[in-house]
Amino acid sequence: MAVPVRKFDAVIVGAGGAGLRAALQLSEAGLKTAVLSKVFPTRSHTVAAQGGVSASLGNSEPDHWHWHMYDTVKGSDWLGDQDAIEFMCREAPNVVVELEHFGMPFDRNADGTIYQRPFGGHMSNFGEKPVRRACAAADRTGHAMLHALYQRNVRANTQFFVEWMALDLVRDEQGNVQGVVAMEMETSEVYVFQAKATLFATGGAGRIFASSTNAFINTGDGLGMAARAGIPLEDMEFWQFHPTGVAGAGVLITEGVRGEGGILRNSAGERFMERYAPNAKDLASRDVVSRAMVTEINEGRGCGPNKDHVLLDITHLDPEVIKSKLPGIREISIKFAGVDPIKAPIPVVPTCHYQMGGIPTNYRGEVVVHDQVVSGFYAAGEVACASVHGANRLGTNSLLDLLVFGKSSGNSMIEFIKAAPKDLPPLATADVDRSLARVARLDGQQNGTPVETARAAMQRTMQNHCGVFRFKDMLKEGVEKILEVESMVKTIEIADKSKTFNTARLEALELENLIEVAKATMISAEARTESRGAHVRDDAADTPEHPNGRDDQNWLKHTLWFRDANRLEYKPVNLKPLTVETIALKTRSY
């Protein structure tokens, strides 16, 4: 079937921090650059980031990129690639100052330099003592970043295609990437965006879990598209969780609530943390609390009709304290849990926050499979795995990742485009046809599964079987269940088949991406029989031989999941930085 083709030097899917940073690089180099986004750029999920972006500027006290690098390697539980981490930490001061010049309104010191605040995991002198490294713009860092980058892109003549959804990657017979198939939401018309270089900057896929802090748009489209095109997904078993999100909604309840005296209870009303952490109790560290909560739920002591959450009780606190010290919490609880915490406890559950894995790239943003660069294909931001976050991301390193790898992938694309033949090659149509068939299947499906049913089944399965704390048998069962859900997804059906802004169709297409991420996550997690960073298993316990359950002898390697037959492969972690010495393996303890 003939599909209209639009031609560019570069096409970028995603207008969050990573996509905008890359686009700027390309447009300012005078290249014809298209950016596609499901939503208006400044409403990308990057807008949610409040905490800040890290860089060893040393504005408040001495700091060094090498210390930042050490913290990042340690945070990653040594699964991060040390070349990429060195690159990121060295580049950090440059990209942050550059952003300042783009008009980012950073908080400032009296002397006019960027103000820096302390943040968990940021240390000076190789783990010695906390250092102030986070740069922020009030509590709107992500918003300000998007705004500054968007304005600058408009000036540089980046062409935005807003309310367009990329559907599939287009590769030729040799596997070279030629662009994407995309749908215009207003008309449901399908086009090909052909380009010399294609970048995925589509963000994370937190919506695979029932409880997630991610906005609804975070459906891992880039991961789904890559997987369908034969590109493996790296380290997908690693997801960061927060212990207390409102059950069923995902909105975070700050840890300050437990600080003010909040108590966690199970279905029997028992203060169960007394059993898990007799001294610290409810104030134990994140992972201890998360693990205890999941164990309670798993052993049948969860609350609610589905016994799938626990309760955070602050009814014993003085209502005045709640109103004055925790005002936002009362509002959140009333709105999203339907309970006034002065009168009744808040249902909470560990909640997914950030995806460490993604499309395998090197620090130049080039997608790499089997040690070979996939010609014409790049990825940056949360969708990519460079890998700088390894098994666990350090707070504020994600916004940094967007800036550094957005820029470096932009530069790699410029080089590639300039060396490419002037005219675009003939378009290979096999992938285009496959994509059209996918849309046609959806429109023609009868007696199928409703999208909500399949999505809920996926989210429940991921939450229960592959959450913050994992059990061998549950994972095994989870693999079977997620494959059953996959067969449901193959027959999803939409009632509304209209053409204009058909949200139902878009959600169905998104679910086809989410399920790829869910499978990758479950299958990779089941296979990795150690605990490392955010992947914590009951059967890989803390022993003197394997502190924290980490097994470097067998598992110091990256997972690669291929959609084809759910095959797993592994590749070594790059322990060799660019210029400094390897940061040697150590037990990760804080």
């Binding site: 499901k38 939503v39 400044t42 409403r43 990308s44 999920h45 990057t46 807008v47 949610a48 709107r140 918003h143 309310e163 939401m185 207003e186 997630s212 802090t213 991610n214 906005a215 609804f216 748009i217 909604a249 995902g250 909105v251 936002g328 509002e331 959140i332 709105k335 999203f336 209209s498 204009t500 802004f501 058909n502 949200t503 878009l506």
Partner: protein
């Protein structure tokens, strides 16, 4: 308001912040069908606000400087009870 515009509004109720998604989803499902033409135009205008501002108004953390939008903000807040 025509069908296309209405559906565009539904899609644009998808935001970058989860807390907005949840509140607007509820509002769209429960209240949108009953809105008058004038109110639909107001809601459409409200959707132009930056996410952080809109959330602050809905959470009562600050007042929307555009007083014309105040009744619509109140309606969305009401839909959350």
């Amino acid at each position: 308001m025509d069908e296309i515009e209405l559906k565009r509004i539904v899609w644009r109720s998808r935001r970058g912040l989860l807390e907005l998604d949840l509140q607007l989803e509820r509002f769209v499902a429960e209240a949108l069908p009953q809105l008058s033409e004038a109110d639909l135009l107001l809601y459409r205008e409200l959707l132009q606000l930056p996410d952080n501002d809109l959330l602050d108004y809905l959470n009562g953390r600050s007042e929307c400087p555009n007083v014309r939008l105040a009744p619509m903000i109140a309606r969305i807040r009401d839909a959350q009870r």
